[in-house]
């Protein structure tokens, strides 16, 4: 379960790396249609690994 933080009277969820990665699913698919730079490739692999890790 994600933790929460209180900020300016509101409660916010602390970002879960796997959920944050999942939100980028569509843009990651779009990334595959072009040549990837090393940083883009690294970011894509990180997000894949974060989602895989959450599945284990």
């Amino acid at each position: 379960m994600a933790g929460v933080i209180k900020s300016e009277g509101r409660f916010l969820l602390q970002p879960d790396p796997a959920l944050t990665a999942r939100v980028q699913h569509a843009s990651d698919i779009a990334l595959l249609k072009k040549e990837l730079s090393p940083p883009e490739l690294r970011g894509l692999l990180e997000r894949i690994l974060q989602r895989l890790d959450a599945l284990e």
């Binding site: 379960m1 994600a2 933790g3 929460v4 209180k6 900020s7 009277g9 509101r10 409660f11 916010l12 969820l13 602390q14 970002p15 879960d16 959920l19 944050t20 999942r22 939100v23």
Partner: protein
Amino acid sequence: MITIIRNPDRSIKTYSEFSDDPAALLPGESLETVNAAFSEYSRRFTLACAGRSGETLRFPRASGDLTVEVRCPGESTAALDINGQVETLPLINGQAALLLGTEVPGTFVLKPADTARYCPAGQAILVIEVV
């Protein structure tokens, strides 16, 4: 008259308006009776969002702040467990409200912090998914 089943740690597991058979208890659980009507007992602590209570709610990410209404009739404060973080709210006429942000996807689970006093089930627990 209602019957309460307590977990070994004294938190309330469940309650009903029918008499439960003590033989059905798991090891460490205990049974007690309270002289109250079911509806009265179940309204001692309730949570609602967007007029809905006792169900899992789902809202899109970045859809604005959500207001959760807390009702605890006759009390001046209410201790709430929000994803494991305890927040004590001052109540006005037994009511308070708190805001949840929807910027980050995930799941909010809100329930009473004092589960020996209030059963974290039914209208006393609220699960809100931000997707």
